[in-house]
């Protein structure tokens, strides 16, 4: 059933998928984490209310979140070409992935930070903590377990997005499933890629939850 090099191809697919996912997740957090912090802090009940900035950022996030990933991916092709120099392959997929995932992560981070007890923030204020100190010494450390759970959700979501990128010539397991399963009717190969994706998601989710649980001191 398997031709020569099939294992090697699947191995390459796994590597590419992980590469796209992890790099994109990291870069999305570089953008999304500060966005989430700003969304929480500048809220009208936040520690440093700036209503217009909050509204503007919220609006941008909503717009980006409402564009389906498939369409977003095609729309940003010119941007991708400018940044990466090509529009195909796993490297090129990182650009639309980050554009789609950063606002998603901003919302995930926002909801984690909003879970932090208002009373604890009030206590920090009563001690003379500045808004910046509250952000970095109260909000982020107190929300850490929740942020880690959010990261596990985000990384699996981004893996799902990355598989979709196979349609427009992205690499990874998604591309293999597309090329062999859809175009060549090799259902068995498609089946294997799906199983591989399921396993990867399971592992990532498990690790994320474990780390979150270990880091949580409220238990």
């Amino acid at each position: 059933m398997f031709k020569e090099g099939m294992i090697q191809m699947l191995g390459m697919g796994i590597y590419e998928s992980l590469y796209m996912t992890l790099i994109s997740t990291f870069m999305s957090y570089v953008i999304g984490l500060p966005m989430g912090l700003i969304l929480v802090s500048t809220d009208k009940d936040g520690i440093y209310p700036i209503i217009w900035l909050n509204k503007l950022l919220g609006f941008i996030v909503n717009i980006l979140r409402s564009v389906p990933f498939l369409i977003l991916m095609i729309t940003v092709i010119p941007v991708t070409r400018k940044i990466v120099g090509t529009t195909i392959g796993s490297k090129a997929t990182i650009v639309p992935l980050v554009i789609a995932a950063a606002p998603f992560i901003a919302r995930v981070v926002e909801s984690s930070l909003k879970e932090v007890d208002k009373g604890v923030i009030e206590a920090a204020e009563s001690m003379g903590a500045s808004p910046f100190q509250i952000m970095f010494r109260v909000l982020l450390p107190e929300a850490k377990p929740s942020l880690l759970v959010g990261a596990a959700i985000s990384v699996t979501t981004i893996l799902g997005y990355s598989a979709m990128a196979g349609i427009i010539g992205g690499g990874g397991l998604g591309a293999i499933a597309m090329n062999y399963g859809l175009y060549r009717y090799q259902r068995d190969i498609m089946f294997i890629t799906v199983i591989l994706l399921v396993i990867i998601v399971q592992i990532m989710q498990e690790i994320g939850m474990k780390v979150a649980n270990i880091s949580d001191k409220r238990l």
Binding site: D117, G119, V120, E122, A123, A124, E125, S126, M127, G128, A129, S130, Q133, R137, V138, P141, E142, K144, P145, S215, D216, K217, R218, L219
Partner: protein, 343 residues
Amino acid sequence: MEQENVIIELKEMSKSFTVKNGVVHALDKINLKINRGEIFGIIGMSGAGKSTLVRCINLLERPTEGQVIFDGQDLTVLKPAQLRQARRSMGMIFQQFNLLMQKTALENVCFPLEISGVKKEDAKKRAEELLEIVGLEERKDSYPAQLSGGQKQRVAIARALTTNPKVLLCDEATSALDPNTTRSILELLKDINKRLGITVVIITHEMSVIEEICQRVAIIDSSKIAEIGTVEKIFTAPKSNIGKQLVYSESKPKGEPKAEFDDTNKRYCRIVFDGETSFKPILANMILECQSVVNILYANTRNIDGQAYGQMVVQLPPEERIAKKIIAYLETQDVNFEEVDYV
């Protein structure tokens, strides 16, 4: 001289909130002076505005009008950075403790020092000292989730004291604790007040808390100060309606059966002992003098700051003549009493 003695002064302070259907006046023209080194209580029913009041003292809530003068400085005109500096002279503890859940007891106590730029080792040293004062040095590496309510409040107290504040604000600090723990926390606050000379401001809805440690008390009712005075005075002779309600309802055991009393004769007399008269056998003398027994419906005396205070409600005999005689006798004695129509 008097001015020097005042550490917190609220001048014509009002706070209103804008809500969906209009404006809510949480506090209305509050004038209040709290003296250096005293334990001052602020009591009121829930929703009276007492929590807002304490938050106005350190400007967690910004008053809509009026001034908040702390140690000679008007806080309402300070810039944010100056205000943060001023807040470091005011510790605050809360009903829900508000500890950092992801940090150990020691790290929690270090926190105020670290944010004010003290070196880690120095902060740790000071934090350990404070945990010793509150009696928790051996639990320093525990996380809040591993501590009981009373222990959490002790950590919170230690944390509030790290920056050597002049004032400790307590917002319903014992309301989430059981009676025994409450007593031990109040003892600790008393001790801190005595030992470190820190002014303590206590917000509560429990008269027993006020009675246990406060020297003066302000009663807040519907956004205003209804009454203010020494605890002895308010306990023995509350003037305002809310004061009477708080003092009398608190001192009567809950659920006491009243039906047993003869309701056809509703002449009751409340006798108040103000710390001196309680040592004289007034009631016994009255019975001997008037040759008539009275029914004691309720009696409660307590120790307030080393002096005995209390009140007693007696039912007067049905015969008009004897009742008059008793009243006349009480009038000759140096004792506060009044005829009441309730027990």
